[in-house]
Amino acid sequence: MKETILSIPSPLGPTVTLCKNSWQASATPDVTLSIVSGMHGDQLNGLYLNSRLTRFLNDVAEGRETDFKLKGKIQVFPVVNLHAVQSGTRLWSFDDLDLDLAFPGNEKGEVAEQIAQCILTHTADSTHGVILGTGDHLYEDAPHAKMLHADRTTRKMAQSLGLDIVRELAESSTAKLNLLHHWGESSISSLMVSVGKPQTLDRTLCDSLFDGLVNLMVHTEALSTSANKNDKTDVHFFRANGNYCVLSTQAGLFTSEVKAGSFLKEGDKLGELRDIYSGNTLEEYVAPQDGYLVTLRHHPVLYEKEPVAILLTEKKSGFWPF
């Protein structure tokens, strides 16, 4: 069911409306799963995934997906940063505010604050939450799940996605303004799923993640299924201190020779940096140790001291502890 949850008249154009889709098996569900996408206007994979999930859940609700039944409540917020999505940019130029730095928001505040507050209010009774995103501006992420609170319930939830990689994020001064942090503070088991790069819709990646999200719905008991559950067991879990960031020491044009998601051995070449004017190679980047390439620079123009790649290292990680 599509519902308008916030409506803000525009000064000169159409009214801005924030919508959610929701499905529930009963009036008092034991489980509520919230799935949010479009926090930044350039994160298109999440929009596509949520649109696929919406079609699937409509089919479940109307009995066309006979293997599945609604058991709890599922609500999908396909577009959070309405103006930025409409302008095709990461941020909305009107206020240059990062919406994921606007939480908890303010009901009586500016547009971004009203949206943030509305999302938080409508997800407050959730037991589980998922934010669908992509790599940061200028970067590509291998599909993986991120969490702030690596408790057993959240790790099990991440495992149900069927992704190879789950990582813990460090708390930071800016993280306290994120939706993920506020869900955590409300004891909502929550994950951020990052897949691909901004400004790009990668259907293959999204389609591979779709089944994982359905499996997560089953795992959290928001859905029930007559089919066998399919929880992956060989998930790599990386602690927050397992990141290894490869930095540029010069500036130029970066070309990569690997793909995000590869497992690299120490010494494997990541790519090289060329001088824009001469074309000469300035430096080559190699994996400093064995690790999983979770983030790779996709925008070629590179300043000095910028991250080229982030490796999740085996040193501080381990297979999923069951």
Binding site: I8, P9, S10, P11, L12, V16, R90, L91, F94, D95, D96, D98, L101, K108, G109, E110, V111, E113, Q114, H137, L138, A170, E171, S172, S173, T174, A175, K176, L177, N243, C245, L247, Q250, A251, G252, L253, I276, V301, L302, Y303, E304, K305, E306, P307, I310
Partner: protein, 320 residues
């Protein structure tokens, strides 16, 4: 004056991008105090850049004519976000990142976080007092004021009172401050005043002159400069959140103000209209909700419901 580069990075198209620090040393080896003036964290906030220009110009002349006046050390960081200033944009343009939301621990290995924390570290290691100049954003115009988070009030209010601003606004803390320069320096026990004046992308010489005189008074009264003839300054109003009335839009539209910033207004007095430009109607007449000083006024007319239009310091305020 000595010029230092405290952080730099190479650009893909050529020369380095640098944060410059201009240092005016004390006449004695051990300065009585060291003060830092910082501007340009947001690249579209130019009022502080101009105030730093005024300070550097004044201090250079003073050094040449009365070098004995320098009992302490003065450091001026006039343009700490060089590429954003070059693009006149609030955010660091290539990354779309707010440099004043990158301070402190745990914000990753990005260039913006590294550069921001290089500035923070340099200020921590070479300052006893810091003044961080800001203008308002694109939307609001502000009378010269100093904003202080409650927990730092005891230490900062006496210093802020010297600065010739119209207002000192003491407010509660919020998570958004934790990644800012001012908060992190104050937490590190380096008293830091955050000055807010004017509006972005503009220079108001009268506001800048007012703050410039305040800075000279601050330098004199903290013993950093021994000025024979320090400027006269006015005492500011000291307000807490209960003494500030915020007026917000109930309708989206175009806000057209009808009263100048800095006016003393009466309750019920008209501040402006919100008009519907498509239908040619006035949707809302905005009036003052209290007697007091109009210290914030909406400048950018396009507004959505909930947008702040004005702030009034209530008449029943105190002086520090």
């Amino acid at each position: 004056m000595k010029t230092y580069t405290i952080a730099s990075y190479q650009s893909p198209l050529g020369g380095p991008v640098e944060i410059i620090k201009q240092t005016f040393t004390a006449v004695k080896d051990k300065p009585v105090k060291r003060i830092a003036f910082v501007s340009g964290l947001h690249g579209d906030e130019l009022e502080g850049v101009f105030i730093c220009h005024r300070l550097t110009e004044y201090l250079r002349q003073l050094k040449e004519t009365h070098s004995q006046a320098f009992l302490g050390e003065v450091n001026v960081y006039p343009a700490v976000n060089p590429q954003a200033l070059g693009a006149a944009s609030r955010l660091w343009p290539f990354f779309s990142v707010d440099m004043n939301r990158q301070m402190g621990n745990g914000n990753g290995a990005s260039l913006a976080a590294g550069f921001s924390n290089a500035l923070l570290d340099d200020l921590k290691s070479s300052s006893d007092i810091v003044v961080d100049f800001h203008a308002s954003n694109l939307h609001l115009k502000e009378l010269p004021q100093i904003r202080i988070i409650e927990e730092f009030g005891k230490k900062l209010i006496p210093l802020a009172s010297l600065c010739n601003t119209d207002l000192i606004w003491v407010h509660p803390t919020a998570p958004v401050f934790e990644a800012t320069l001012g908060y992190n320096l104050n937490r590190a026990k380096i008293p830091t005043l955050v000055v807010e004046t004017g509006i972005c992308l503009r220079i108001h010489p009268d506001f800048c002159d007012q703050v410039f005189k305040g800075m000279l008074n601050l330098l004199h009264n903290t013993g950093i400069l021994n000025l024979p003839d320090p400027p006269e300054v006015k005492p500011p109003l000291l307000v807490n959140p209960r003494q500030v009335a915020l007026i917000q839009a109930e309708h989206s539209g175009l806000f057209v103000s009808s009263i100048p910033l800095g006016s003393w207004v009466k309750k019920g007095e008209k501040l402006g209209d919100i008009v519907d430009a498509v239908n040619g109607t006035v949707m809302e007449t905005i009036v003052s909700t209290a007697d007091g000083l109009l210290f914030t006024l909406r400048e950018q007319p396009v507004i959505y419901q909930g947008a702040p239009l004005a702030r009034i310091a209530l008449k029943e305020t105190t002086q520090p």
